[in-house]
Amino acid sequence: MPFIPHTEEDIREMLAVIGVDSIDELFDEIPPGLRCGTLDKIPEGLSEMEISRLMQARAKEDGQPLCFIGAGAYDHHIPAAVWQLATRGEFYTAYTPYQAEASQGTLQLLYEFQSMMTALTGMDVSNTSLYDGASALAEAVLMAVRANRKSKSKRILVPRTLHPSYRKVVDAIVRNQQIELVEVPYDQVSGRTNLVELDGFSGEDFAALVIPQPNFFGVLEPVDELTDWAHANGMLTIGVVNPLALAILKPPGEWGVDGADICCGEGQPLGAPLASGGPYFGILCSTQKLVRQMPGRIIGRTLDLDGKTGYALTLQAREQHIRRSKATSNICTNQGLVVTAATIHMALLGAQGLERTAAACLASTQKLTEALTSLQGVEPVFEGAVFHEKVLRLPISPKDALKLLAAHNLLGGYDLGGEYPELGNAVLVCATELRTDDDIETYRSKLERVIQTQIQTPCQLKPDW
């Protein structure tokens, strides 16, 4: 019986103590008619050897294509130490640290995490994670609506340059509370949020303005202007940031005159592998003023009976297990293990390591842009400075191009046709520090052939080189 330690003798003794004849008798409070039979359609159990074989085959099936997609998930070097340590049983198999004295390892680590996140974002306080970047933004929006006492509207300004999935997730989560997201258009030349059009909303009642940095196109937004505009108009500002980019970019706490009020983002670039999109973790930081509006776990440093330093969950009165229907959020389980990894990751890289990584990404994307735009008909779509990724226009349909590239085990980027049809044949490409010059040349030469072939014989189904 895998994972069951009971011997026949144990079972006999235990049943005797309880005073029943069989294990089945223990289920006698379940109305007999409801008892289910065997679970026939579930396959029989596999040994570890068998499941290993199966999973190895499946993992192999998906290949390991050379990847130039970013679009919210980025392929970075993760020090070997990070997950070797994070998966130590004591971290990996502990619960949420409800018994502080028996969880000082996790608690101190989380306090360090909070310190690192506030250092990176320039904000006052940090929680210890939400599910992911998108759901973190949803919580930030709810927080802003609660916190902005001046606003009555339950409306939020959201730039169209924000990651489309984030817009969808936020909408799915907040619309049940009658919160409305209002789209702010972008400038077709720079790829930035259009300040002029934004100004059209001046004087209207919005609880907050969302500011992505970089935005979904990789383009850097004019965060100072946006922040100051929002504040001038009685709105809170919510930064949506890439924490790795913050190693070199102005932190939200310093945006504009007063800094952002809330900042959130996807923690994945800090030590989480791509892994099909999760588990990652959502970052949420804010000003001290808003700390009691924060959702999620927060760790405080305190003293024990002997006056020795220790760490514990704090401000629990915000949380569902104490406050129930009046809690700041329903979140309970968060992304603790990934946060553990991220904390170790940041300790290992330090500010310098993150800066170098960010700068290397910048350089890679620049090289990639140069290599690809050297091809006839491939050109950058926007002028603005970028981080991590770049929008390029192709001379052929991105859908076909990406498909043909994939057939050659290369993932060429994210097709913007679905979400941003106004951009024409646009594709979002990304090269992190892991992509070498050789990799970039591989992409260039494959794309060259794909374009040639497609222009000569468009829509050919099976390329024959």
Binding site: I4, H6, I11, M14, V17, L26, F27, D28, I30, L39, G45, A59, D62, I69, A73, D75, P79, R88, E90, F91, T93, A94, Y95, T96, Y98, E101, L109, S129, S165, V169, I173, N176, L249, K250, L274, A275, G277, G278, D306, L315, Q320, H321, I322, R323, R324, N330, C332, T333, G336, V338, A347, L348, L349, G350, L354, R356, L362, A363, N409, E433
Partner: protein
């Protein structure tokens, strides 16, 4: 010592970063950072040593008995981690095309099917990232259902007073008012009280069965009928699925929607606070509203179901597809259990709980519901000890830590005073249970002869009892030099 306290300006772990600093001039000055972020500056070894030693300060399943009620702290098979970390799985980009995702999608599809089987639901979406997000999705679907029917008057979700805090909080996140239903003295819901509050304003009820008081809700069929008759839907909080896996299925009990905590029943690790996975299953009428993405299989290929396929979906809950790595671990566990293993989970978790309950009662402890069978967990109340000896549940809990046992859940559910919610799980051996009983008896003894010993506990942990009040009053949330 904090990692920050080991930091020295100019110290690094340079093997971990690109060897050179590339040019930043492409970024306008005004958008650049002026000062480096204050992250710790330590050597690689310092980081490794620091976090290795920190880890040793945790209790965990891999080191301690951890009978934390409602949390299902059972063995997390180590193969889950190894196999979910196969290079092909770790390197897969969430936007990889379906041509390069068949292996991964096959796992998700199979998992959907398995979860349908064990819950008796019609369809499953895996995407919620944890139990609470599953609850949100479930209640949002209830709302979508009523909305689609133009049934706008249903503004209330009913929740038993014993329910987990996420239940009312999730209902509120979906824009509902919450009304509590009392629990009867036998642990079952007070059906008369329920009847009184059911009405046209009832959108639904959130239950878990066995309930969070650790007993099986015997009148569940009647309750289902009543709620349905009132036009409401039934939500099943599947955090307690461990108790009934293979024995009784929420779908068969009449539930319309359920979330599961894979990080409990399907034994993916808790990681000191997550990640989890909270898939939702629904009856046929709620299927159109399931959150996306989901996975479909046409007999040849697996593919994502998205907005286009599911226009009535409540939408997306995360940027990609939830906690994929947790789903993979749960899938591995489910396949290792297989059909018979599913039954064993509930059988042996129930056996362990009933044995422990019986022996603790024999040892003089008071059960909250002495007449009832325990499910996979049960409640003791230390009301008597608190009154007679001045030693309360918190004291017992802290003293257990000294004996190398993680405390059970304390003071939850709220309706039982001075309670301990104890869930041994099926993976603990009888000897471990016997030792727990012994330790409880020792502490009871200590409470009589040397109460201060218990009230000052713990004594042998890295810190003594911590001052929570101070933590909240004198907020110290980040390191400042």
């Amino acid at each position: 010592m904090l990692i920050y306290e080991q930091s020295r300006p100019g110290r690094h772990a340079p093997a971990q970063a690109p060897q050179e600093m590339a040019d930043l001039s492409a970024i306008p000055e005004s958008l650049r950072r002026e000062q480096s972020a204050k992250l710790p500056e330590v050597s690689e070894m310092q980081a490794v040593r620091h976090y290795t030693r920190l880890s040793q300060k945790n209790f965990s399943i891999d080191t301690h008995f951890y009978p934390l009620g409602s949390c299902t702290m059972k063995y997390n098979p180590r193969a889950g981690n190894s196999l979910a970390s196969l290079p092909g799985l770790l390197a897969r980009h969430p936007h990889a095309p379906e041509t390069h995702s068949q292996g991964f999608l096959a796992c998700l599809f199979d998992l959907q099917e398995i979860l349908k089987q064990v819950t008796g639901m019609h369809a499953v979406s895996l995407t919620p990232a944890a139990g609470a997000q599953g609850e949100f999705a479930g209640v949002a679907m209830i709302r979508a259902y009523h909305d689609a029917r133009g049934d706008a008057q249903r503004t209330e979700i009913l929740v038993p007073d014993a329910a987990h805090g996420t239940n009312p909080a999730s209902a509120v996140m979906c824009g509902y008012a919450v009304r509590e239903i009392p629990t009867g003295s036998d642990g079952d819901i007070d059906v008369d009280a329920l009847k009184q509050v059911l009405g046209p304003q009832t959108a639904g009820i959130m239950l878990t069965n066995p309930s969070t008081v650790g007993v099986f809700e015997r009148r569940i069929e009647e309750i289902a009928q009543l709620v349905h008759a009132a036009g409401g839907l039934l939500y099943y909080d599947g955090a307690n699925l461990n108790a009934i896996l293979g024995k009784v299925r929420p779908g068969d009990m009449g539930f319309d929607v359920i979330h599961m905590n894979l990080h409990k029943t399907f034994s993916t690790p808790h990681g000191g606070g997550g990640p989890g996975a909270g898939p939702v299953g629904v009856s046929q009428r709620l299927e159109p509203y399931l959150p996306i993405p989901m996975v479909d299989f046409d007999g040849h290929d697996y593919r994502w179901l998205t907005e286009d396929d599911r226009p009535h979906s409540i939408g997306r809950l995360s940027a990609f597809a939830g906690n994929a790595g947790v789903l993979i671990r749960a899938y591995i566990y489910a396949r290792m259990l297989g059909r018979d293993g599913m039954h064993r989970v509930s059988e042996f978790s129930t056996l362990n709980a009933n044995y422990l309950l019986k022996r603790l009662m024999e040892a003089g402890f008071d059960a909250a519901y002495p007449e009832r069978r325990a499910s996979h967990e049960f409640i003791l109340t230390l009301k008597r000890q608190a009154k007679e000896l001045g030693v309360n549940t918190m004291d017992f809990a802290k003293r257990l830590l000294d004996y190398g046992v993680h405390a059970p859940t304390t003071y939850f559910p709220l309706l039982v005073p001075e309670c301990l919610l104890i869930e041994p799980t099926e993976t603990e051996a009888k000897e471990e249970l016997d030792r727990f009983i012994e330790v409880m008896q020792i502490i009871q003894q200590e409470a009589q002869t040397d109460p201060e010993q218990v009230k000052q506990a713990p004594h042998s942990l890295p810190v003594k009892r911590l001052d929570d009040v101070r933590a909240a009053r004198e907020l110290d949330l980040t390191w400042v030099k």
